[in-house]
Subunit: 333 residues, 4 copies
């Protein structure tokens, strides 16, 4: 399953070392201004190779829009976008053809499909997030028409919560042929009340799905999140006044429906599994082996994953806006 959303449906495709990555956004409303200029700043934030903290793979990541835009605006038809893979060095993966990298999908994927594109992780590569950022750029343009804005910040890297220690923590891990993870917070402001619905359409459920669909994310929480499990009800309940909510332990969502307060979600990102140390593993036919993952890998993907998480939140919010619009269109008559 490679489609996100029920109204604003984003179908993604592409492998790390295949010809291209792409997305088709079906259900995008018409008359939304959109062109490749809206894509550049977001794609740049995701792009590796910018500094010593990330993989030196030089992904130029030029987006081509194949459909759905006419004279600078969406037409209501599917918007297809692709980014070609240009700097892929597939031969570096030859030694991994038959070997499962620990912490990766290599073995579980092979056991399911009986085959795999081993080059750079194939579809299970972090590079597939290019598709998410392309879709997210369009979603953010839609959100802009409603005054909704999304941003993210890093809460922790490698257990450090002081931003001035982040770079140092990452570089130390890199020197030691190791990697670190971290925690990100993503916030949407300007959301009207009413996004989401009870049961399967809960806004937090949809966001959780979107966030956990990002590789390396191992947990998600809203508002006070896991800390809520240790609060009393009298403390956790956000008092409501005619001026709005007095606090936001709920993270902007009650009963699966947005309250109008900022939507606040945090995600736990695991340390990059590709490390230049020998690790115990198996071959595809389950014989014991050792592997050292050489190549161009980020010692920490947390800084680059922010724009991906923002994009995923944007997709969910546009979907929820569309669902809400149907309800409102009947109410207003």
């Amino acid at each position: 399953m490679n489609t996100f959303g029920r109204y604003f449906r984003c179908t993604m495709f592409g492998e790390s070392h295949g010809p291209a990555l792409g997305v088709v956004v079906d259900g995008c409303p018409p008359q939304i201004p959109f062109d490749t200029e809206h894509l550049k700043p977001l794609m740049e934030r995701r792009r590796p190779g910018k500094n010593p903290l990330s993989t030196p793979r030089q992904e130029q990541d030029e987006v081509e829009i194949l459909s759905g835009i006419f004279e600078g605006k969406t037409t209501g038809m599917p918007v297809a976008m692709i980014t070609r893979n240009r700097d892929a060095q597939s031969s570096a993966y030859d030694t991994l053809r038959d070997t499962a990298r620990p912490g990766h999908a290599d073995l579980s994927y092979y056991q399911k499909y009986g085959c795999r594109d081993h080059r750079g992780g194939g579809r299970s590569s972090g590079r597939e997030t290019v598709s998410r950022v392309m879709a997210g750029a369009l979603a953010m343009q839609v959100l802009a028409t409603r005054g909704i804005h999304i941003e993210s910040s890093i809460c922790e890297i490698g257990g450090e919560s002081a931003p001035d220690r982040f770079e140092e923590t990452i570089l130390r891990a890199k020197e030691e042929h190791d990697s670190v993870g971290g925690i990100l917070e993503v916030t949407a402001t300007g959301c009207p009340p009413g996004l989401g619905a009870p049961a399967a359409g809960k806004l937090d459920a949809e966001i959780a799905h979107a966030m956990l669909s990002i590789g390396a994310v191992k947990g998600v929480e809203f508002g006070s999140g896991f800390a809520a499990a240790r609060m009393r009800g009298s403390v956790h309940n956000d008092a409501i006044t005619s001026a709005g909510y007095s606090s936001n332990n709920a993270g902007g969502i009650l009963g699966g429906i947005s309250t109008g307060a900022p939507v606040i979600v945090r995600i736990a990102v695991k340390p990059t599994p590709s490390i230049a140390q020998p690790q115990q593993t198996v071959s595809m036919d389950l014989r014991d082996a050792m592997v050292t993952v050489e190549g161009r890998h980020d010692p920490c993907i947390v800084p680059r994953i922010g724009v991906v998480a923002e994009s995923m939140l944007a997709l969910v919010l546009v979907d929820a806006l569309c669902e809400q619009d149907v309800v409102l269109s009947f109410r207003s008559r």
Copy 2:
């Protein structure tokens, strides 16, 4: 949206004080043994009124199967089940008709739909989990045919992690007209490798959606979860040997696909928002007000939510089994 699943599709309905709660399970495989006897032990675990720790509402919760079963087995057709509401005391909610309870969906729901069934929270009541347990009972019968077993345990209540303190913690909160939350762990054993798929079909993403769709759940994590964000890659990666995985930091899922190790998920449950203390709130037209939520409410729903979380995990796993079966049916030719 009230349907869970793409293959094993569970459409749920019903309000806390309406005639009945129900679920239609469409896409259930044929020839699965199922009758009301399979439902009883699970429904009993969810049922309130059993002891001083939970609401005294006496829900008999007898399930009636309306379709899809013939001579004790599923036929492949939709299985519809209903549970009638019998002990509903709607008049207790008259004073809440125009008042939003903090921590509940009352206001956000009303702002969306412009109306609401205020009796007991309507569809946004915890009572709707009856539908989930009914569907879960059927899902567990399907899982049993494949040797998959689900169970849950309480990790924490009100910040206490020693099981012998759980009851005391809840009773103290109750005496103080307050409530507590907690953390639950749900585990599936016997899962084959290969459940789930890259991108939108990731098994952990689907489970996260299912868990966050339960009211009161504010966070979810897999394997080492949020703690993974503080580990090094060399520590977090689970070494693989010909005998299996040496550890299970991944929680049984890599790249969104089950590894064959136990699937381990933890959820954070917020404290019950209904407390018998005066709280600051607003009326539906946003005028300041005070509310004290009287009535029959659990001071802690963690003990009763275990079977609901197990049920939701079961729904996701059956859905993933069906998806996997399509892949395997082509591989095996």
Copy 3:
């Protein structure tokens, strides 16, 4: 698959001789007036046993609404409705337990599922249209809020197109232990332009799906339909003027999108396959056999199927209205 629609999602269930037939309508807009009084006239039109032309099975068909209605209006939550089976005479079907009736789904169903509820055709009975009429009644209430009206008429029965010959044609077939089919036309007036979308969402494609999902329907055509295949373009094209379309060969739909002219669809209904004559057939294990289908069967279901076809058209139109509302909500800003 037992769900119709993507926005206004109707999930149906039930067997001819099971406890009940039902439907859950998820995605119904809030604040639509609806109660059992809206159901009665439509259910009455579908009901058999009214005169010598139809089966004497006395289906009282009282509808119970289980959820989603509060104080006489929809709330935005799923509307579940059931009709219990009361006059089922299952023993009449004992002889058919192992025998396939020609023209029915008996054998194809059994070959798929490896089992079946043989009583009255189980889920493959015409009685399942009760669910469609229940859902259709709600859909028509939604359409009424937009000024859309649906009606149907009989074009032909048994090859006769003069209405005064219809009854005679049916009675003659009945006397000869045989059955007849016919052609129905269903029309929706008041549809705004803009319902439907290019490609998979074409309004005529969705209507065709809905109509062919009714048992016994073997063909569907729009506007001039099959006759269009014999027209020249200069004749078939409907001229457009500032006052509207000069003709309606298109049947109110161009490029899959409604034009504002009446939507006109015709369906071909095959003769009832249950006939009281000996027919050559097989047992479930494919041994040759003879069968004479005794019991209470309509010699012609065309008169009763009109309200079912109207209901199915109503479901599609509400779904299209919701889709259209999302587009319009963005255009109007």
Copy 4:
């Protein structure tokens, strides 16, 4: 909505004069042999400009596969394919920017979306069927692994049913600046019994949706189709023997489930609406106007539409095979 199928999901995109047309096939089983060689013969059959009977637009229609194929086989991941538009002459459409062509979606589309890509009909162009043939080629490879074969034949063109009159009929219409339609029959042989399901998943309902989603198709019928409406039940019922069905009035489908007999469907194709005669019409703001549609248009698209209809049938059958595989995987245990 631009996605066909629930298991084998084909999401299509592209405009007649945009950069490219494409399709993403998600849910394709792994290990199916597929490369551009499998595409060529089908694309060639759809291609215009081959002879005086069709538009001289020279579409080279080279397909590029962007993902999902590794070493000549599918991997289970989405297969994305694109065909670039090369011979588009957009300026020829400048005069149609503000004018609705009768028989086309121009006005209904504009009234819905408030904008449109007027060049060559945009997304509502017959050229979008390129996407369908690309997806169909892959579907036919899947069907080949199960021994299912699809073919089509022309039953009528312009009312003529003698094949030796087809070319003459088309050329005469062309000379008279007019166009003709026709009737096509598409047949699938080798289908196992059991494809499709009762209610919304009926195989004939899904096929009807697929066929009516093709532009210019105005009707669809199965087996004896509309003629069934004039038959007696004793004639229409296909007798069953231990050797199979004695006739095939059902068109290979009973109760929405395939019987094992050939699946037979016929479609009515309207005459090409683009004709080089003056026609009465309106501008986008509904002022009266005249239009003569110059340019490169087929006087009859029936010969080229056969491969499109075969492709659509193939998509539906693969989807049904996947659904059936889930059922069988549980039965076989």
